[in-house]
């Protein structure tokens, strides 16, 4: 429970979203272009984070189907901004320790002139800790 509470607080802090403002109108899911690919839909993200039921979201591929098109952010009548919440859950997964698919030492070997500069900067920032 306490771990879930910490997780929820962390997600709310990084996203700046207040899920209590949601009036459950469903406009986010009504507007979402990736709705059909998602196991958990935008309105469910909001409800599940609010309930602290975050584990299933962390393990769901739904996280990566969100296009961050911000249609839900634009149209939400309560300014809940679900896409920011999805992004925060995604960051929660990426930031977990010992989940790295790479180490900092692996990076130089993988360098390629095709890789965008920005991706390299991000990779070093993440793995150089």
């Amino acid at each position: 429970m306490s771990e879930n509470t910490n997780l929820k607080e962390s997600i709310l802090r990084t996203s700046g979203v207040n899920p209590k403002k949601c009036m459950k109108c469903g406009k986010c899911s009504g507007t979402c272009p990736a709705f059909d690919e998602m196991e958990y839909h935008p309105h469910q993200f909001v409800a599940m984070v609010e309930k602290g039921n975050i584990e299933p979201l962390l393990n769901s591929k739904s996280l990566y189907y969100c296009l961050t098109c911000f249609a839900c952010v634009e149209r939400c009548p309560r300014s809940v901004e679900p896409a920011k919440l999805v992004e925060a859950v995604r960051l929660e997964v990426i930031r977990q320790q010992n989940q790295n698919h790479l180490t900092a030492n692996d990076i130089p070997a993988k360098l390629d002139s095709e890789i965008p500069q920005q991706a390299l900067v991000s990779a070093f920032r993440k793995y150089a800790k």
Binding site: G26, K27, C28, G30, T31, F35, H43, A71
Partner: protein, 667 residues
């Protein structure tokens, strides 16, 4: 501390059951205050406001020859009037009563008995200090002009005026449009009984017009309001119709012959066009046309004048100008109504892109037999019969972004159920879907009405909101929305989309509120004097509220509120004189420098200047001095703070009295 040797003060500490006695040691408060200067009597009692409590006060006044009393009790808003009457009955001047609020400002906000008691003593001491400097005040009287003004000629204004007239008082209606009737005149049917709006409204319009106590000022606006309760003076601007209303017979020949016919018809929500000289609708009252200067060829080019040639009674007058009429009133009722919000910011619903996306008020006109389609339900784009319709609820209501209103518009759930039901009844081949967030139908026979739409008429209610509407190549609309209960995203192809648009107060209310010194809330609804106990009075005396200008409401509620506002007006107009508040500002002549600062800050226009001869310590000279009209002054005290020479003082709340209170608190 200043002590008036002649003052004999009694202190009465109320327990208010356990409300005060629970956190304040009332006996100790009474005992301690006995030692305050001027206090000759002090006691406590369970309920001071009760008959027995008031008797204690009366007896103490008589037995001890008290010159003033301090009651340590609840807020003066609750019982100041009670204790003033008690004191008056015992022969005291009612303004020799001071209330120390030891409930709302003390016992209710403290948990600790010691702290609560200490603060109660301080509050009591401060009231005693003030009372030591009180002087008896005599309230003046003002006459009442026995005539009422109703601003707005919709159902709210009409009903208010009819009820006031029924009690025998003269009443004027000022309506800014060409006809009375308001929004209700535009509606097709009314929920929950489905009677035709015109059938129940037009008899009331006729009544208002035929009633010899009611004067209609249509196509007129309020330009200026001055004065105060019982004595308002109002300038009404009668806008030029370019028609001599005394001779016009309303035959309508001019409207038929007018060659300028391309102006969007406001009455039909711009779904068709009207001529430049026009009568809004067949049952308009008065049934007199007016010329739209911006559309009229005569005004634009100097040519034409066909209406003038057509008119058999020579009623067209292109030279006519606005006329200002000044009238006196005892009471004013605001009944300025509402408008649907503009939905052009909701791009996701394609309102500005597709003619087949309409607002609910536009649908009312489409469904109405006198509307642009003669009541036939057709798609506006190609006039074909629709087979599918989607209604979207809460468009612009209950949101918090800048394009939305934060409140629930209250009427949309019911009118959408009405539209859906009427369409299914008349055209059973049309599939009707309603996207809703919540269905809110409190009201007599309201929820039953909504259930009938679902159960008997087969309207498809979908719990969810529409995310976007797009136009397909086949000319139909594609609605993408969520069905939350099925956890699905729906794609519905439809012919028409109807937006249940939020309502907002009419724009004119902002200027009007300033003129009336009535307050409006953040949504521009006029504020009532008390949300529960004084719902039809504005905080400004003599100004009353009727209809949606106070908050969203349907027709039954509007009519009920209109009657309530009328009864308050009648109660006021019945009086021959009004007791004035004696706690008004007064200027000390010898200190006044005539600088005008007080007149500039006075929100009520109560201060004027006059040249007056004064004798300043033997020097006789004529000076420019501030004069307070005590009938207009509301005792707000703004002038006393602004006056740089300390000449202005508020009777009953003088600077000396307030400083004495502060000193007593800081002692």
């Amino acid at each position: 501390m200043e002590v008036n040797e002649l003052q004999k003060i009694g202190v009465f500490v109320c327990w208010c059951g356990s409300n005060i006695a629970g956190t304040v040691d009332v006996a100790k408060v009474a005992e301690t205050l006995k030692n305050e200067p001027g206090v000759v009597f002090s006691t406590d009692y369970q309920y001071m406001c009760s008959e027995a409590g008031q008797l204690i006060i009366k007896n103490a006044i008589k037995d001890n020859g008290l010159t003033g009393i301090v009651v340590c009790s609840c807020s003066p808003r609750m019982h100041e009037a009670t204790f003033r009457k008690t004191a008056e009955a015992a022969g005291l001047n009612p303004y020799m009563v001071e209330i120390a609020n030891v409930r709302e400002q003390c016992s209710w906000i403290h948990k600790d008995m010691e702290e609560g008691t200490e603060k109660a003593i301080i509050l009591g001491r401060s009231a005693v200090a003030k009372l030591n400097l009180n002087t008896p005040l005599i309230a003046g009287e003002n006459p009442v002009t026995k005539r009422a003004l109703v601003i707005g000629g919709g159902i709210a204004g009409i009903q208010t005026a009819l009820d006031i007239a029924d009690a025998g008082f003269e009443v004027d209606i000022v309506e800014k449009k060409q006809t009375i009737g308001g929004k209700m005149a535009q509606l097709d049917k009314t929920f929950p009984t489905l009677d035709c709006a015109a059938c129940i409204l037009t008899p009331k319009m006729v009544d208002a017009s035929a009633n010899d106590k009611i004067t209609l000022y249509t196509y007129s606006e309020v330009d200026n309001v001055s004065g105060f309760v019982g004595n308002f003076t109002v300038d009404i601007r009668k806008k030029a119709r370019y028609i001599n209303t005394d001779v016009c017979t309303g035959c309508g020949a001019c409207t038929e012959k007018c060659p300028s016919r391309k102006t969007p018809n406001e009455f039909n929500m711009g779904l068709d066009t009207r001529s430049a000289i026009f009568i809004p609708f067949a049952q308009a009252i008065p049934n007199i046309p007016s010329i739209d200067k911006n559309a009229c060829l005569h005004f634009k080019t100097g040519k034409c004048g066909i209406c003038q040639k057509t008119c058999g009674v020579n009623a067209i007058d292109f030279e006519q100008e606005d006329e200002i009429v000044t009238r006196e009133y005892g009471a004013i009722v605001a009944a300025t109504g509402f408008n649907p919000i503009k939905v052009d910011k909701f791009d996701e619903f394609q309102y500005s892109q597709s003619p087949d996306v309409v607002t609910s008020l536009e649908l009312e006109r489409i469904m109405n037999a006198a509307g642009p389609t003669k009541g036939k339900l057709v798609r506006p784009s190609d006039h074909k019969h629709p087979t599918d319709m989607v209604f979207i609820q809460c468009v612009g209501s209950r949101g918090e972004s800048c394009r939305e209103k934060g409140y629930c518009s209250k009427i949309c759930c019911m009118y959408t159920a009405k539209h859906a039901m009427l369409i299914r009844d008349k055209y059973p081949d049309v599939n009707v879907h309603v996207f809703y967030i919540d269905v809110r139908t409190p009201g007599k026979n309201f929820d039953e009405f909504y259930r009938r739409a679902v159960e008997e008429y087969g309207v498809d209610y979908i719990k969810g909101m529409v995310g976007k509407v797009s136009t397909r190549s086949n000319g139909r609309l594609l609605v993408q929305g969520s069905d939350l209960l099925a956890n699905e995203q729906l794609l519905l192809e439809t012919d028409m989309v109807v937006l249940a648009t939020a309502i907002e107060p009419d724009e004119s209310v902002k200027d009007l509120a300033t003129m009336l010194t009535a307050s409006i809330d953040t949504n521009n609804f006029l504020t009532e004097a008390h949300a529960k106990l004084r719902p039809v009075e504005s905080p400004t005396a003599g100004v009353f509220l009727s209809g949606v200008c106070q908050g969203p409401k349907d027709i039954p509620e509007t009519v009920a509120q209109a009657g309530a506002a009328a009864s308050k007006v009648i109660g006021l107009l019945c009086k021959d004189k009004l007791i004035a508040n004696p706690c008004v500002a007064k200027s000390e002549e010898l200190l006044c420098s005539g600088c005008s600062v007080c007149a500039n800050v006075c929100p009520y226009g109560a201060i004027t200047y006059e040249e007056k001869e004064v004798n300043d310590h033997g020097v006789r000279e004529t000076r420019r001095l501030a004069q307070v009209n005590s009938a207009v002054c509301q005792g707000c005290g703004a002038c006393t703070v602004a006056c740089p020479s300390g000449a202005m003082d508020l009777q009953g709340f003088s600077t000396r009295q307030i400083m004495a209170e502060v000193d007593a608190i800081c002692k």
